[in-house]
């Protein structure tokens, strides 16, 4: 036989099984057993945990749903491998945080062709699929730029502690942040940018070095809260908390504590539990209705709203919204 | 006879200390040329330069009259130089055949002719009448068998010159004899041989010419008729030696029994081992290689388990833990010096300290001054060269390494010292020193068990000789006079227990 790529196999399979899928579509959540899998980029950080919590809370309202969480180990390769596995195990829906949009496209195609709806969470896959519950990254970057620009009065010096180089979310935040600065606040200078690899302790080290090198820093922008916390510790140790604004992104509860204590300035809060719940809702909807990528010409997007949180509006984020 | 090899003005230093100084060395076609010298004189180093293992710092090598550059082992092979190195150079995980053919495999279109090579090797083994299987994996062989493989490897090359660095160090008398036969045969075929050995009688017997090195300097070249033992020894060590005649005054000690071994057995290794050792006595253990002497000693010492039998020390059962036995006064100088005797990277003093922490350290903290003192005392007492106790033992020559290993025990209150092949590969001067040390120990009440394949040494030192054969004690000589022949006959099973009685 001729050599066929996965997508070709998937395409032909989807043609032949199209009807079968059609017939099978529309599972009943109250009589049939439903299996839903969640495959985040990496397990063990607070976002993934909050998403999973949100999903679980929502899915627990149904008695027959099994909900499993897998670990993408921050690697495309592993995610592709696990996607294969999930398809082999015929899950009813997959909620995926795609480590790489392009890299997981083929796997998503394959799943959709097999009649399994894929809902991407936070990070998109580069192909049409059942739904995307988009997080805030570009917008978060923009929001931080606006807040910093405004509070500095359009003039000042900023450093960036960035994600692991090449990470999609980090690159997006960066792009949004820089675009707004160069457009609206040309007088704000980006002094330096170094990677903290998402980690608190690395951000601490990086910030220490920035503080050594630059006698004058007005704000530091971090690609996530964990790094902002690390940076805050460094700034505090240097006794420069008064002069430096520290911004993070995510809105995890520990960050809110830091803001409360005055160690950090602000963060871009996303309600991850509710984002997770939305993913689960989309999955349930897709399973019930039998909608897969075939019925769609482009991926429907659900957007989460970015909330800028500073000490002033901290109390808006109530206890049940914290994660 | 023409000059096959000429080495001129060879110089070499290791870590900035000169080891060879302007050495001249020539070998003629078809001669057996002995290379003599004390431990550390630089013999092995010279050989390694000749065979491209070490680069030389200066000098020239001429082969059949032409200047040559030897930069690697294969350069030497191409010229027709075969070597048996002092330290075995076999690959443990390969078979005998693979080892012998290593570096000269036969292949057609890149695919090895394994069967053909195996047959060739079997033929070779047949030709020289050895008892080894071509497809045995080397790591399953005894040291003696490995030595045989090493010899075969050198023979397989059809070389014009074969260098033998201590080929008999771990061979039994019988296997040595076959080697001598082979050397004769090779000589007939016009092959030259460089022969290095500390067994002087072999050297006198075999060699046509003899070069003596001392401290990296060539001190003499002797023609066959000039080879007079006393002269050679004097040249080697630079002074006269009061060589005691091989004494053979056997006697049973009347002191109290220190060690009693009853019916010791280890399946497949040895059985029916019973003997007694008295205080202050030196008992020699003779036997062919593989007779199981080392194994018995290791069991007594607590290094290996045994299946049945009893070992009593001062009428109390011996512990199976080495450290307890050491506390009770045991000591062991193992046979395989490099792998079992010392830690090569550590200095002499730290090696010596290893067995003496009970006195050097208190509450687990080392007393540095004491450690130094112990090291220096031993270096001085044993005349370890170079006389600096900070040098890693791995950098010493064989003989000095052995002295360092002995040094581990001599500062202890020893009651029983087991020495396995105490002088393998050690020069005559050092040998004598080691014998003196052993005798001294015995005089002070330490019982010494000496396992040795050197019959002369056994006769020279021991007060009793026990002979083992195939894992059993087959003879014991405890009174009267014996000669090397007695032991040889017992070792090969012709003479049985208490054999000296029916001697005339």
């Amino acid at each position: 036989g001729a050599v066929q790529t996965d997508s070709q196999v998937a395409a032909s399979a989807s043609d032949s099984t199209a009807e079968a899928v059609e017939a099978a579509a529309g599972k009943d959540f109250y009589t049939e057993d439903i299996k839903i899998a969640f495959l985040p980029n990496v397990i063990g950080d607070s976002c993934a945990a909050a998403w999973a919590d949100g999903m679980k809370a929502y899915l627990d309202t149904f008695s027959n749903v099994t909900f499993d969480v897998y670990d993408g180990e921050a690697s495309v390769d592993t995610e592709v491998q696990i996607m294969d596995e999930l398809i082999n195990q015929s899950y009813d829906a997959i909620i995926l945080q795609a480590t790489d949009a392009a890299g997981l496209a083929a796997s998503v195609d394959k799943a959709e062709a097999a009649g399994i709806p894929v809902i991407t969470c936070n990070l998109d896959a580069d192909t049409t699929h059942t739904a995307l519950v988009a997080g805030v990254d570009t917008e978060a970057g923009e929001a931080m730029a606006n807040s910093i620009g405004e509070s500095l009065g359009g003039e000042g010096k900023v450093v960036i502690i960035s994600a692991t180089p090449g990470a999609t979310k980090g690159e997006n935040i960066d792009a949004g942040f820089k675009a707004v600065l160069s457009e609206k606040y040309p007088n704000i200078e980006i002094l330096d940018e170094q990677s903290g690899e998402w980690l608190t302790e690395n951000a601490n080290t990086v910030m220490n070095d920035f503080l050594t090198k630059y006698p004058e820093i007005d704000a530091v922008m971090c690609h996530n809260d964990a790094m902002a916390e690390g940076a805050a510790e460094a700034v505090k140790a240097a006794g420069r908390l008064e002069q430096v604004q520290i911004w993070g992104c995510d809105g995890e509860s520990k960050m809110l504590d830091y803001i409360e204590e005055g160690l950090c300035t602000g963060t871009i809060y996303t309600n991850c539990q509710s984002q997770g719940a939305s993913c689960a809702q989309m999955a349930v909807f897709a399973i019930e209705s039998g909608i897969t990528a075939k019925n769609l010409t482009s991926t429907p997007v659900v957007k989460m709203a970015p909330v800028i949180v500073t000490k002033d509006n901290l109390s808006d984020i109530t206890e049940d919204m914290r994660w | 006879m023409s000059e096959l090899l000429e080495m001129k003005g060879i110089q070499k230093s290791f870590n900035d200390s000169p080891v060879l100084k302007d050495v001249e060395f020539t070998v003629k076609q078809g001669e057996v040329h002995a290379l003599m010298g004390e431990n550390g004189a630089g013999k092995s180093t010279l050989i390694k330069i000749l065979t491209g293992i070490y680069p030389k710092d200066g000098g020239q090598i001429f082969w059949e009259g032409k200047a040559v550059d030897i930069n690697s082992r294969s350069d030497a092979s191409k010229l027709g130089i075969g070597v048996i190195y002092q330290e075995l150079s076999l690959i443990p995980t390969l078979t005998v055949a693979q080892n012998i053919m290593l570096g000269k495999e036969k292949a057609i279109k890149g695919i090895l002719q394994s069967n053909k090579m195996k047959l060739d090797v079997e033929e070779l083994i047949q030709k020289y009448n050895f008892r080894i299987k071509a497809d045995a994996v080397v790591e399953t062989l005894t040291i003696a068998e490995r030595q045989v493989v090493e010899i075969l490897k050198a023979l397989s090359e059809n070389s014009k010159l074969i260098i033998m660095d201590e080929p008999t160090a771990s061979l039994s008398a019988k296997e040595s004899e076959s080697l001598f036969g082979i050397i004769e045969q090779l000589k007939q075929q016009g092959v030259s041989i460089i022969y290095i050995s500390h067994r002087l009688e072999e050297v006198y017997r075999l060699s046509d010419r003899l070069t003596v090195l001392r401290d990296g300097v060539r001190v003499a070249v002797l023609e066959k008729e000039e080879i007079i033992p006393e002269d050679v020894i004097r040249l080697m060590i630079g002074k006269d030696l009061s060589e005691a005649t091989a004494s053979n005054n056997l006697r049973v000690s009347d002191k109290r029994v220190l060690l009693k071994v009853k019916n010791l057995k280890r399946k497949g290794v040895f059985k029916n081992i019973s003997f007694e050792i008295h205080e202050g006595e030196i008992v020699g253990f003779a036997g062919l290689i593989g007779a199981g002497r080392t194994e018995v000693m290791r069991c007594i010492y607590g290094a290996d388990p045994y299946d049945s039998g009893e070992i009593l020390f001062e009428d109390k059962p011996v512990s199976k833990t080495i450290s307890k036995n050491i506390k009770a006064g045991f000591g062991l100088v193992p046979e395989d010096r490099r792998n079992q005797g010392f830690t090569p990277l550590l200095s002499i003093e730290k090696n010596i300290a290893l067995t003496n922490y009970d006195t050097i350290a208190s509450h687990g903290i080392v007393n540095r001054a004491k450690e130094k003192e112990y090291g220096n005392t031993m270096v001085e007492k044993l005349n370890i060269k170079p006389g600096n106790s900070q040098i890693p033992v791995g950098n010493l020559s064989g003989g000095n390494q052995q002295k360092a290993v002995l040094g581990k025990w001599l500062s202890r209150d020893l009651k029983l010292l087991i020495i396995d092949e105490p002088t393998a590969g050690i020069d005559i001067g050092a040998k004598d020193e080691i014998y003196k040390i052993i005798e001294n120990l015995a005089e002070n009440g330490t019982a010494v068990i000496m396992v040795s394949s050197d019959l002369q040494e056994l006769l020279r030192v021991s007060q009793r000789v026990i002979v083992m054969r195939k894992g059993e004690i087959c003879a014991e000589f405890s009174e009267g006079r014996i000669t090397q022949e007695h032991i040889l006959m017992a070792e090969s099973g012709i003479l049985t227990k208490g054999g000296n009685e029916d001697e005339k």
Binding site: A2, V3, Q4, T5, D6, Q8, V9, E73, A74, S75, V76, D77, V80, I82, D84, E85, N88, Q89, D100, A101, A102, G103, A105, D126, T164, P165, G166, T168, E171, A175 | S72, S74, A76, Y85, E87, S89, L90, I91, P92, T93, L94, T95, Q98, L102, G103, A107, G110, I111, L112, S114, R131, V137, T140, K153, G268, V269, G290, K470, G471, G493
Partner: protein
């Protein structure tokens, strides 16, 4: 020799045992799709493992394989995106880059005399940095572009359900085994690993042998990269991270000893499949990830311990047998 065969049988048997356990407790395990998935999962690791087995048999180690795969893949993606090179040329370049990385590793290890462990750990940093240097960027921001060249994507494909990468793995494993057992190089690889000093005394250029095995590994990493990009269809900057440890685990589970001189490609082949089966099987139970990790770890630990206990027993047996033969021969001689 016979012991080696025995060990073989046992390791294959334990593989089958594990497969039976998974098969009986999970309905989808023995499905055709799943079997093919397993073979596919093990293949990329397996291809690299062939080279790493060579390295480990010479008593070396290569920690840079994951980074080489990442770097090679990124170069391919870069050339495809910016220059639209044809697939065949890309393959040649991928292999050339992989091989070059191997040459560099070999150089550092043999010429600069840096121990293999630290050398390849350092070159890992280097190759990872090069990944970023050649990453596709838009406006200074790294973007992952989908690879669309059908000639490249076809490498991730299958014929009648059998993936090309699996076929390549089997072929390369056979070639590897032949090199190891039937050529001079193979013998020299064993000799170098078993006792380098002795090998050198026997006239073998151990440095050259070591260099060659690193080059072979680099070459195979290049091939693996081709299949990797064919399969994933895009290249992220962290592609191949941690791959080196999976590969090493497969090689060692397959019977190659770190001390060198032991093991072969057949064992490595089994080892690679073993790891893939374990990984795949554990995913079947929908266990929490923590439990998966723990079980996976325990199975590997048990395997390693079993292997070592078995080897020790066999070693003793061999000695025993040698002694008995010895005795028999001596008895014969006396008679």
């Amino acid at each position: 020799m016979r012991q080696e065969n025995m060990r073989r049988i046992i390791s294959v048997a334990s593989l089958f045992l594990m497969m039976m356990v998974f098969g009986l407790t999970s309905s989808s395990f023995f499905s055709m799709n799943n079997m093919m998935s397993i073979l596919r999962e093990c293949s990329i690791n397996g291809i690299i493992a062939i080279g790493v087995a060579f390295v480990i048999i010479t008593a070396g180690i290569d920690l840079s394989t994951g980074a080489i795969v990442g770097f090679t893949s990124m170069m391919c993606a870069n050339l495809l995106y910016y220059y639209q090179l044809p697939a065949t040329l890309i393959f040649v370049i991928a292999i050339a880059i992989g091989t070059f990385c191997g040459v560099l590793n070999g150089y550092v290890v043999t010429r600069l005399r840096v121990p293999a462990f630290i050398a390849t750990l350092s070159t890992q940093y280097l190759f990872r940095s090069l990944v970023f240097a050649f990453a596709i960027r838009e406006g200074g921001v790294i973007t992952n572009k989908k690879i669309t060249d059908p000639g490249v994507l076809i490498m991730g494909g299958s014929i009648d359900g059998i993936y090309l990468v699996t076929i390549a793995f089997v072929v390369l494993a056979i070639v590897g085994q032949i090199i190891l057992k039937k050529t001079k190089l193979g013998t020299y690889i064993y000799a170098t690993g078993s006792n380098q000093k002795s090998a050198e005394l026997s006239g073998i250029n151990a440095g050259k042998v070591k260099w060659i095995v690193f080059i072979i590994t680099g070459f195979l990493c290049g091939i693996a990269a081709i299949f990797e990009i064919g399969r994933i269809g895009s290249v992220t900057t962290d592609l191949g991270t941690g791959l080196e440890f999976e590969v090493i685990a497969a090689v060692v589970i397959g019977g190659c000893a770190f001390s060198g001189g032991r093991g072969d490609i057949f064992g490595t082949f089994i080892g690679a499949i073993f790891m893939a089966v374990l990984q795949n099987g554990i995913l079947k139970y929908n266990l929490p990830t923590a439990a998966q990790l723990v079980i996976k770890g325990i199975v590997i630990v048990v395997m390693i311990i079993f292997d070592s206990v078995y080897n020790n027993i066999m070693q003793k047996r061999i000695l025993q047998k040698a002694r008995e033969l010895d005795e028999a021969a001596q008895a014969e001689e006396v008679a």
